[in-house]
Symmetry: C3
Subunit: 394 residues, 3 copies
């Protein structure tokens, strides 16, 4: 992309050097990659999401939420199709009263008229107060963030940019919602239907169990090589102490952990191991019985080359299917996640599993809505007003 040439020097920097430019005084200015999700920020966003959920339980709370960003207008620029992420962001905006606009057809009239992408983005920033974008074009969201920063330096109108999935590289808000789901699953106080915590009872069976994302074993199963959600979440989790990351995939180079990510995760201090079955032996017991959390993924056939397509047809996928029997052998508290959609043809998770209390994938979708709302509140610096409303309501 020629028109992004002026951003090349910025693109080719280490990620930490970039990320200082996407924040301002400890708060996010843009969200572009999962490396921005530090433990502190995750904590802040999760607690904001909790407040939003609490307020959303009552009519009055919803009124407070709906006025929170009612003076703002969002552009959802989703030229890469995605029903799920799109609707999740729409719902998140709507909860906060943020008015939504959308451009979803990649062949907009302006492109026919040979308008540059940069001009389109500046047009959006003229009319709207935030740009939420999902694009096939590598680095597009990042370049937009640089463009906005440049405008800000010139004292011109500039708005926050959210990367809602760009090309095959980054999908930071998916990592965010996955994290939030895990965070809630390992807060054993919350899910108890009684007033008491589930933790003491669980400790009778699992004496070493502690609350929180730390000191846990996470298994990722399915398409490890091409699942950008796996990539992002694994890196987020690797920041925490005592984390083991097990990758379970068929023995095919496209599906397995790539070396670059393996090195990064190890450098971050995680215990990284790779397996070829959910039944693989781990210290004398099957893997499925020992993990604290299972993250299932779909094999992304749409990215298959023709030869891969043929090779994958030969593979036995049964070691990667989450049968009901396997679910029953999992730890009682271990959440099952899936970024969805699941493949209804190969049945990676049969629908019978949906009724098991460990199945978190529908709740996970709803969590995506809450945590994205929290992200919007954070970007617009409205957390104080939110917490005020939350305190007033309690």
């Amino acid at each position: 992309m020629d028109e992004f040439a002026s951003f090349n020097a910025q693109l080719n920097r280490p990620i930490d050097a970039k990320n200082v430019e996407f924040q301002r005084m400890g708060r996010l200015k843009h969200i572009i990659n999962a490396a921005q999700l530090t433990p502190e920020l995750l904590q802040t966003l999760c607690r904001t999401a909790d407040s939003i959920r609490r307020l959303a339980k009552t009519r009055r709370g919803n009124e407070a939420l709906k006025s929170l960003l009612a003076d703002k207008r969002a552009m959802l620029y989703f030229t890469q199709p995605s029903t799920r992420t799109f609707l999740s962001f729409m719902a998140a905006c709507q909860i906060l009263g943020l008015t939504c606009n959308e451009v979803r057809d990649p062949k907009t009239s302006s492109e026919v008229k040979r308008e540059s992408r940069t001009d389109s983005i500046r047009m959006f920033s003229s009319y709207f107060d935030i740009i939420i974008m999902r694009s096939q074009i590598k680095d597009f969201a990042e370049c937009c963030a640089y463009l906005m920063n440049r405008l800000e330096e010139q004292e011109k109108r500039s708005v926050p940019v959210i990367n809602a999935g760009s090309g095959s590289d980054e999908h930071p808000t998916q990592a965010l919602l996955d994290y939030y789901t895990i965070d809630r699953s390992f807060d054993f106080d919350e899910h108890s239907h009684s007033v008491e915590s589930r933790l003491p009872a669980l400790r009778a069976t699992y004496p070493d169990l502690v609350p929180g994302v730390e000191h846990k074993t996470y298994a990722f199963c399915g398409d490890i090589g091409r699942g950008r959600t796996v990539r992002s979440l694994a890196r987020v989790l690797a920041q925490f102490p005592g984390v083991s990351l097990f990758f379970v995939s068929a023995d095919h180079p496209d599906l397995m952990l790539d070396d670059q990510l393996r090195q990064k995760l190890k450098r971050a201090g995680a215990n990284v191991q790779e397996f070829h079955s959910l039944e693989a032996d781990v210290n004398g017991r099957p893997l499925i019985e020992q993990i604290d959390c299972l993250y299932m993924t779909r094999i992304q056939r749409e990215h298959n080359s023709e030869s891969t397509e043929e090779e994958l047809k030969q593979l036995d996928l049964s070691p990667f299917r989450l049968t009901l029997d396997r679910v029953h052998r999992m730890k009682e508290y271990a959440p099952i996640l899936h970024p969805f959609p699941r493949d209804s043809v190969i049945d990676e998770i049969p629908i019978e599993v949906d009724n098991d209390p460990r199945a978190m994938y529908f709740r996970q979708a709803r969590n995506g809505m809450w945590i994205r709302a929290a992200l919007l509140v954070h970007l617009f610096d409205a957390a104080d007003r939110l917490h005020e409303a939350d305190s007033a309501a309690r």
Copy 2:
């Protein structure tokens, strides 16, 4: 549809057995078919629609309306194209402050990724508070209602489902708006521009005239066989005492009343008769002069087989055209309805008729908006708050 296999036993039951599952303590949980439209429910919804119309006349009333469901979000899942019904539901939602979202392209990204329809629906129910759906797939809305009921039993998140037209079978909200238009037309108090009722003056000419939908003769003209709106409305009207239903269509099996419906209507107690011209002799006078209400329909050419297409070309359609002369010979108070769109090529109702006070078809469209808003208020159990606002405003 394999994935609906688990609902087969439920689908193959008598309609009354089904319909108890679509309600809860006398209130609708879902609206799936026109058989749910009992006289009591029709009465409730029409009076709710009246309140909404009254409030919508003032800015303050509109404010009250717009806060009524402002804490809710709707999904309009319209994979079968329909501008009119879609916009009518949109407007109904907007009147009540209900935030709208839409999926209209049947080829959404999730289907490309082999997501099951059931998973899509559960995704919608994660983000939104009601699903309004129109689909080509037979029984889809009904299956969604069963899915939601099943989730409710499992104490999981469940939302109401509105069938906004499914395949060629059911279109209950069209029957609802048709009914509301008739109900308003036969409330002779309302339409008088003066304070007085029109009824005494009309009785001078029509001594037997009574207010209300009862004791009336309704003629349906055009495409009887394939018009699902005819089917639904006829069954709704057949519930009332003293109702005659005249069906006027060309002598072609696709266009005429089918035997199943004929039997049902008769069993319900209606006087059912069939004719082949608006000028047909009824007790010595032309039909057009004797009916209390005329329901015109479009011949649905898009459903023609090739052979039918040829056969219909041979038919003389003039006996089914509502010329201005015929309108002038109708009873003074007899409303003319049409579910629209009308066919601008064969001119089933020439535009000159639009100016006649009997022409109700544009008002009918607007009534659709009011009664659909009433249905939303009912499904969300917000009628009490609505009537409070209405009383406060008067």
Copy 3:
């Protein structure tokens, strides 16, 4: 278009005779053509836009704005694709709380069912409170205005119509936003960052400079023949005293000023001159150095015939490119406008120019949003309520 036949007599009248029908007691009922933009109306709308901008600077002001038309619903019927104009109107509606609906696909389901366009428009007017339309069909917006007027005469529901660009003829709201941008540029008080006006300092260099659109020289450059924005804006400006209009285009009949417009502008009293380069000699100095305002336009290749396409390829376009050197030689205060999109391939305005304070084209886009909001306020007669809110906020 046969169905508009009944409007033929009305279409074939002088524009002044038409325009009296598009207003009511000095206020617009519909906006159909740029000839409705009288100096008085322009003044009213610009001051309304100023109030809106002022209120939009604070959360409380935005709240007041968002309640202003919260009881109204708009239909954006954009069957001619246009991302920019569409989004600008959406944003304008959203600022005022006006709920938006859209029909953008020219092949809507109703047309498949052979519905007439007039019936579609009446459907929209049943559900919505204003119709904002952009269509390929010549005179469509005008005919819709006549239809609405006819309904009003019959005491039926009737709503305002906004022509948001129809065919190749009229685009009055573009003229409006161009005018507003010029009006703001020549208000030398506003743009000064200090409290003082820029005017005294500018007068040291340009002793004859006066505030306002009067007594200025405007240059239009690029596609004069086919740019409907040029056509509309030139006519608007020609109404003011002391206006010179310079048209700068390549020597090709499709690109040059047409005789009809030339005559109209001269009759209105403007000093009209034509040139073939931005460097053309005007009284001994290059044109670019002498003008008070430069309106650049894109060569509309999508309207080229095949032969024109070939001919245009032969042309040297460098005399019409706004290089940075040319910008530096312009008067210090002279605004550069462009209706956008600009052509990123032939580089009519290189991006380096964007940083120059004379470059108004992004601000111009944002002005479009404000002035369209002002137009909506005017059409719904809500200016008094707006000014009240504005006074209360100050």
